[in-house]
């Protein structure tokens, strides 16, 4: 189950959780754009700290640290690639030069900022809210329904997979045996019942939906309605200001790199 723990959203409510997902998404996008516009280390360090107050206010530090730890491996790869490729394809003077190192760190940090802002978004937005936000953004209802239903059934299927695996192991199936191809083949007795079960489940689901007037009217109504509140407007305002600042700086103010700053 542990692999799927991340899909389970724990119901907590905080100022951040209560924010409109659309406002939060806008904020995340602005962070994203700002991170892309900047390639220098000092502003990226600053950007890295921007989502932290939200993490603390939402009280999701532990989950956030876990997701960042998960990203660390990729961050390391990105760092290595940047370092090697810029070294191989540009004519920097000394071998591990300070600017080269700084540039690689900046690129890695950019990646971390992206992961960070998205993880804050997903850690503080219930799938329910997200589906609703999609719906109210005029995305076709079928798609939104598919999204929330998938969120609802992923843990169920994961549990079912575990049950089937245990059952097949109890009958003597050995999963971790043989070479790569053999191992893949070992999973067939698990996949087939899982797929058959999923199809049966989806048929029953369709039957239940039909019986509850699915497709009765062109324009569905909705039990929940998202409305932008004061805090949401505040967040949107902050995001817009940040975006303006970022674009302005990008156009008119050349930012020095940390190496240059320190050499003064």
């Amino acid at each position: 189950m542990s692999m799927f723990e991340g899909f389970r959203f724990r119901r907590v409510s905080s100022v951040v959780h209560l924010l409109d997902p659309r406002a939060k998404f806008f904020f995340v996008c602005v962070l994203f754009i700002t991170a892309i516009l900047n390639s220098k280390l000092p502003p990226l360090i600053l950007l890295f700290f921007v989502p932290l107050p939200f993490v603390l206010m939402a009280g999701v530090q532990r989950e956030w640290i876990r997701s960042m730890r998960g990203a660390l491996f990729f961050a390391f790869i990105i760092f290595l690639f940047n370092f090697l490729f810029t070294y191989l394809y540009t004519e920097y003077p000394q071998v591990p030069s300070a600017p080269l190192l700084e540039r690689s760190i900046a690129m890695t940090l950019r990646f971390l900022v992206l992961v960070e802002s998205f993880s804050v978004f997903f850690l503080t937005t219930s799938p329910d809210h997200l589906g609703l936000a999609l719906e109210q953004s005029h995305i076709p209802y079928e798609f939104c329904f598919a999204f929330t239903t998938a969120v609802r059934f992923v843990p169920v299927l994961a549990e079912e997979a575990q049950t089937i695996m245990d059952a097949q192991k109890a009958r003597g199936l050995e999963l971790e045996r043989g070479n790569f191809l053999k191992r893949v083949r070992n999973y067939i007795p698990i996949l087939i019942p899982l797929i058959v079960g999923a199809i049966r489940r989806s048929l029953e689901l369709a039957e239940a939906m039909e019986s509850r007037a699915w497709g009765a009217s062109e324009k569905r109504t909705n039990l929940y309605v998202l409305k932008l509140k004061r805090n949401d407007y505040l967040l949107v305002l902050i995001s817009v200001l940040m975006l303006i600042l970022a674009v302005y700086v990008w156009l008119y103010i050349p930012i020095p790199s940390l190496t240059i700053l320190l050499s003064f």
Partner: protein, 295 residues
């Protein structure tokens, strides 16, 4: 029956569902699943539909709300009339306003992330305005006794709670008839008992017609006004509970005749005659006391 106004008397004799010589074959199947079913369900009654596994109970339920033929296809002959509408001429969603269907497996009929959202699903589809929807959802939750679960995710509830949510989902749409296809087969006896009580209340307070497919006749029969027994795609017994349960045929088909009725039969075989046919253990004990006092 209580003497009521002329309107209720008129209602009581009105057939809400009627099938005539209904024959149905699933697409791709060789044998017909229903072989000439003619039944009449009257408005306001609680009907128990029973019979051995595979005899066509679920198939008949699907005919009542239009899943057959609109969802399943296949070949249908004869006639099904529900609340004055011919099923073949209606869409499933039109019929959903009149007939609610609760399925056997509580898990796969709930798909939203909160109970209230699930209960609202049908109303959202029917484009019921939001204020009205909120009222109806609260009402349905209250009628089924699950107000306190309204924000919980349905898949984290117990089977009994899930089944009550499923009933609320259908109830919110305010149907004339509610069909429950073996709603208790995944539940323990206590959970089953609770479901029966909820169903009974809906029938008595709101006058909703109930069709209950059930094997646990010991628990369910005391609520029934009418019992239909099927076997191999046909209706073999149809009438009021005492007559049906007491018939020799019911026992031969393998219907789980209530123990109280079975006790009556055994006593009769041994020469002790009770003054009536009991269906529940309460009735049986009363009749037994009568006999004991007489002797």
């Amino acid at each position: 029956m209580i003497e009521g106004s002329p309107i209720t008397v008129a209602n009581e004799t009105l057939a809400i569902i009627e099938t005539r010589k209904l024959v149905y074959t699933y697409s791709g199947a060789k044998k017909a699943a229903l072989k000439g079913v003619s039944v009449t369900i009257e408005s306001g009654e609680i009907v128990i539909l029973t019979g051995p596994s595979g005899c066509g109970k679920t198939t008949l339920c699907r005919c009542f709300n239009g899943l057959i033929p609109h969802f399943y296809g296949g070949k249908i002959e004869g006639e099904v009339v529900v609340a004055g509408h011919k099923v073949v001429d209606q869409t499933i969603y039109e019929l959903a306003r009149h007939v609610g269907l609760v399925f056997q497996n509580p898990e796969n009929q709930l798909f939203a992330l909160s109970v209230e959202k699930d209960v609202a699903f049908g109303l959202e589809n029917l484009a019921v305005p939001r204020d009205e929807m909120i009222k109806r959802v609260d009402w349905a939750l209250q009628m089924t006794g699950i107000e306190d679960l309204s924000e919980r995710p349905p898949h984290e509830l117990s089977g009994g709670q899930q089944q009550r949510v499923a009933i609320a989902c259908v109830l919110a749409m305010q149907p004339d008839v509610m069909i429950l296809d073996e709603p208790t087969s995944f539940l323990d006896p206590v959970g089953a008992q609770k479901i029966f009580e909820v169903i009974n209340e809906l029938n008595k307070e709101l006058g909703i017609t109930i069709i209950l497919v059930e094997h646990r006749l010991d628990l369910a029969s005391k609520y029934a006004d009418h019992v239909v027994v099927m076997d191999e795609g046909k209706v073999v017994l149809d009438g009021e509970p005492r007559g049906v349960f007491n018939s020799e045929k019911a026992r031969l088909i393998g219907v789980g005749v209530p123990k109280a009725t079975r006790l009556y039969q055994i006593l009769r075989e041994n020469g002790t005659h009770l003054s009536g046919v009991p269906v529940t253990s309460e009735e049986a004990s009363k009749l037994l006391l009568e006999v004991l006092k007489r002797d």
